[in-house]
């Protein structure tokens, strides 16, 4: 079998090959590592490799597979966004602040995926502390989009999305605080799911905005995401906000039946900010779903336009506290020869954090300050409830809400870096979903001038199954999710 076939295969196909011993996990891992070695210089998607450990884990997985004890993910290679703490493996969060930080513990997600039999290849680049929508804020340099190396891959899970699209691994993890899984998934032409807040444990994930952060799967198909989500999910005694909800076998539940499914189309998601060509692709995807028996219903989410302002008060406010621990005292970057305590704080933090991170810490600190708390943070919390109510009301009459994942296809590197607000507009369709704590996914919806577009599907709380099934049906009826970038190994 050609390497490119392996690098294109779904998890289900790979598992069939592994179980039949048509390929070993070790071979699979070697192929992936080879692909990373060959192509990563162009993308800068992976910033830490654990090759030796991966090969040894793969050999162990092969023994399990030989005994016939393989589970759906046994021996499947995987890359983690560098926001997940990995025991003994440096975890940087894309920041100079944590350039040399080696956690003494695995994040729950890492431990669960390990227990499910996956083999960790390494860690993916990301926007610094997950703050960005283009993967240009990383201390380790910008990530390039494999569909067009002059374009951004989206962010903050841009390294993960680019790595997956480039065939570095069949599965990658991401986190999504305001769109950080869905927007890069959209820009890189892959499937990415942000689960319901509380579905996946946050323990061991470096915090950005605690009430919004959620980890999720990014993969080549809805089915692969389903396999991964099943392994990642479930209550964790170490995360008080993880939900005590039964975890279904999401992959087993995929039947592609969407007859009678009521899909809400929010008028507000087809506003002036939306690129008309993206709108065309989204409408095309929606008519596919209609053809498959779904019912399209116009709905209103009237407070959508408050989402950006609300998000950019709450997320920076929480971040300003979450990032206070990086003070140069116990771990992380410490400036040379501080003359006193204030100097230690000032220089360690000024040197350790990049511009966007500093901007958000300042904004958050301001929003929480005495005299401004009611006007900003408190007001934002109230609006957040109103935005969540919009969704609850809509879900009384529809089962799924659909729209674009991002207003545009991938944009040119460097074009929005100097204009934070233009950058924040990238997340205009995804932020509200985090504010409401709902599950959302992005699934490919074709190309515009060779660049991918993503359809966003939003579900009711803890109903990831329905949006996965809807995406699964779309992926059965179309081949958009099988498009690969004209890049490296895939070059035609």
């Amino acid at each position: 079998m050609a390497d490119s076939d392996v690098l294109n295969a779904s998890v289900s196909d790979l598992q069939r090959m592994l179980s039949a011993r048509a390929i070993s996990s070790e071979e699979l891992v070697k192929t992936c590592l080879g692909q990373i070695e060959a192509e990563n210089d162009a993308l800068n998607a992976v910033i830490t490799l654990c090759g030796d450990q991966a090969l040894s884990d793969a050999r162990e997985a092969d023994q399990v597979l030989s005994r016939g004890d393989g589970k759906p993910l046994t021996g499947i290679p995987l890359l983690h966004k560098d926001i997940f703490c990995t025991k003994g493996v440096r975890t940087t969060c894309g920041s100079h602040m944590l350039e040399t930080f080696e956690p003494a513990y695995d994040a729950t997600v890492v431990a669960r995926l390990k227990a499910a039999g996956t083999v960790t290849l390494g860690k993916c680049n990301m926007d610094e502390f997950a703050m960005g929508s283009s993967n240009e804020t990383s201390f380790f340099g910008a990530v390039k989009n494999p569909w067009d190396l002059d374009c951004v891959p989206g962010g903050s899970s841009g390294g993960s999305a680019a790595a997956l699209a480039a065939g570095f691994a069949p599965l990658v993890t991401g986190t999504d605080t305001g769109g950080s899984i869905r927007q890069p998934a959209s820009l890189c032409g892959i499937t990415g799911l942000k689960p319901t807040y509380g579905r996946v444990s946050r323990l061991g994930i470096i915090a950005f905005a605690s009430s919004l952060d959620q980890a999720g799967p990014m993969a080549r198909s809805a089915e692969d995401c389903a396999h991964m989500l099943t392994a990642m999910s479930g209550i964790d005694a170490g995360d008080s906000t993880s939900a005590d909800r039964a975890v279904p076998d999401f992959a087993a539940a995929l039947n592609g039946k969407i007859e009678g499914l009521r899909i809400g189309i929010p008028r507000e998601y087809f506003n002036d900010a939306l690129n008309p060509k993206v709108r065309e692709r989204i409408m095309a995807a929606l008519s596919q779903l209609e053809k498959a028996g779904a019912q399209l219903i116009d709905i209103d989410l009237p407070h959508t336009h408050y989402a950006i302002a609300t998000y950019y008060v709450i997320a920076p406010a929480e971040a300003s506290a979450n990032l206070a621990r990086y003070d140069g005292v116990r771990f992380g970057h410490r400036c040379d020869d501080p003359i006193d305590l204030e100097d230690l704080y000032l220089r360690s933090r000024s040197e350790g954090f990049g511009e966007e991170v500093q901007r958000r810490i300042l904004v958050g600190t301001y929003a929480l300050s005495s005299g401004f708390y009611d006007a900003y943070f408190n007001k934002a919390q109230q609006v957040r409830r109103i935005i969540a109510d919009d969704f609850h009301r809509a879900f009384e009459t529809v089962d799924v809400i659909a729209g674009p994942s991002a207003p545009n296809v991938a944009f040119q590197c460097g074009t929005k870096q100097q204009d934070p607000v233009a950058m924040y507009m990238e997340d205009i369709y995804t932020l509200a979903v985090n504010l409401a704590g709902l599950p959302g996914l992005s699934t490919p919806a074709g190309l515009i001038n060779g660049m991918p577009v993503g359809l966003q599907l939003i579900g009711k709380a803890f109903d990831e199954a329905t949006i996965l099934n809807t995406a699964h049906r779309l992926q059965q009826d179309t081949d958009w999710h099988t498009y690969r970038p004209n890049f490296g190994t895939f070059q035609s």
């Binding site: 906000t241 506290a321 771990f331």
Partner: protein
């Protein structure tokens, strides 16, 4: 000008839980630095707090103990400030919705009256670590063993007018929390630390003056002194027509003065907001009732019972009650000897004196309650005179055994045998005819004085073992018979 002092107190109480409030680390005092700090306590990236239910139960116990309202839904908040011994850069506390709401705490005063103090609130929070400035030259050491220890911060209304009231409140509070078993109350180890908010106003007026806050005073005696010196300082300023600066001050016990802390630390904006990593604490009636069922008898009820059931004076009861161990010791003694008043006297007198001299807590008393009861029983049945009893007590203190064993081995039994006593009396009368004659010639008043001579002689002869009551009776009879 005549000034009235107005004070409110904030007490930081360390709760006696096995592990920290948000992590599994132990909370023992005095461990090697940073040996009781796990990744959560260190504020490591990705770590999350998990609330220790024991801390919640302790807080609810306290609320019930002072008859306060328990918050049905209390919320943790982040209090943001940078300090090297505050690992996360914020302290998890409760600002907007505390677990214990308003209550009234009745403080017993020395004159037997009860002083009602309004409790504003009590909230749960985590303690910070310790900065150590005096071990490494030019550097500060950080010990995070204490970081994450559960604290209950108890805040009063400005209801105190004298230092005596403040100290009485703290003592009563100490007594309550040790009764409840929610804190060891060890002030020297920092288990109970007090902030004093203090202002002066012209006597007879209602408006509050500008206050200062004296932070972290850690003994009853220092609280009293700090209040006095701060009151004097403020009065001097006001008498001179000056103004009080609202600020935080520290009490320097060595110099017996209060000093201003750096104004920077006072000007902190803590930017409180709800802690997103923790769920609100929801407490329902069933939980409250379940906790209520576990409450022990509290000091107030116990005081009343000691007076009514044991016939103790208010005074004795007030002395026995504050120390839970002492009150329990008393009840154990009474259980074995059924003589409450002598039991109280022995505990508050000889036993407490001996314990204090040797700096031993009553929990570790070398004389057990059962042993002391054994001694009291021998006094009550006339075997021991009070003088001999002291000898037995001393021997028991030395660990020489039970009262009965000591009486036996030292032949300390009081001679109450009438025949033996009669013989002794007869011998002394026969040996001292002059004194007998004097006695017979004297009037009633003088006779009483002269009889002492004979008692002394007989006690000497009996080596103190003659039953003094019986001896007196026999002697008077015999002397009367001489005439």
């Amino acid at each position: 000008m005549s000034w009235e002092m107005v004070m409110g107190l904030e007490v930081h109480l360390q709760l006696a839980t096995q592990s920290k409030i948000f992590s599994g680390s132990a909370t023992q005092f005095g461990a090697e630095p940073n040996c009781q700090a796990d990744p959560v306590d260190l504020g490591m990236p990705g770590m999350l707090p998990v609330l220790n239910e024991e801390a919640v139960r302790h807080a609810v116990k306290f609320g019930l103990g002072i008859g306060a309202t328990i918050g049905e839904r209390s919320v943790f908040d982040r209090k943001n400030y940078f300090y090297p011994d505050l690992p996360k850069g914020y302290q998890v506390s409760q600002f907007f919705a505390p677990i214990v709401c308003e209550g009234v705490f009745e403080v017993p005063m020395a004159d037997g009256s009860l002083l009602p103090i309004r409790i504003t609130r009590a909230h749960l929070e985590e303690d910070a670590g310790k900065s150590v400035h005096d071990i490494f030259p030019r550097e500060t050491g950080i010990d995070l063993n204490r970081a994450g220890t559960p604290l209950l911060e108890i805040v009063t209304e400005p209801d105190f007018r004298t230092a005596e009231q403040a100290v009485a409140y703290l003592k009563a509070l100490h007594s309550l929390v040790t009764y409840l078993g929610i804190s060891d109350g060890n002030m020297a180890e920092g288990s109970m630390r007090c902030d004093i908010n203090i202002s002066l106003r012209e006597r007879g007026t209602d408006a509050l003056g500008t206050r200062t806050e004296i932070k972290n005073v850690n003994s009853f005696r220092f609280v009293e002194r700090a209040i006095h010196v701060e009151c004097e300082r403020q009065a001097d300023i006001l008498d001179d027509g000056g103004r009080i600066t609202q600020e935080t001050r520290l009490y320097d016990a060595e110099q017996n003065v209060t000093r201003s802390m750096r104004s920077k630390e006072v000007a902190n904006d803590y930017r409180y907001f709800p802690e997103p990593d923790l769920l609100p604490i929801e407490i329902d009636a069933a939980y409250i009732e379940a906790v209520r069922a576990t409450l022990p008898e509290l000091p107030g009820a116990k005081r009343e019972r000691f007076v009514s059931d044991y016939g103790l004076s208010e005074y004795d009861a007030t002395l026995l009650i504050p120390n839970h161990a002492m009150a329990s010791f008393f009840e154990a003694v009474v259980n074995h000897c059924h003589a409450a008043k002598p039991a109280a006297n022995w505990i508050l007198g000889d036993l407490l004196g001996a314990l204090n001299r040797s700096d031993i807590a009553i929990e570790k008393s070398p004389i057990s309650a059962q042993q002391l009861a054994g001694l009291i029983n021998r006094i009550e049945d006339g075997t021991l005179s009070s003088k001999l009893a002291k000898q037995v007590f001393d021997a028991m203190w030395e660990g020489l055994g039970e009262a009965d064993e000591i009486i036996e081995s030292r032949e300390l039994k009081q001679v109450s045998d009438t025949g033996a006593l009669e013989t002794m009396v007869a011998e002394v009368i026969a040996a001292n005819p002059d004194q007998v004659a004097q006695y017979l010639a004297a009037d009633e008043v003088k006779r009483k004085k002269l009889s002492g001579f004979f008692v002394g002689q007989i006690m000497k002869a009996s080596q103190g073992q003659a039953n003094p009551k019986l001896l007196n009776q026999l002697l008077l009879e015999k002397l009367a018979a001489q005439s």
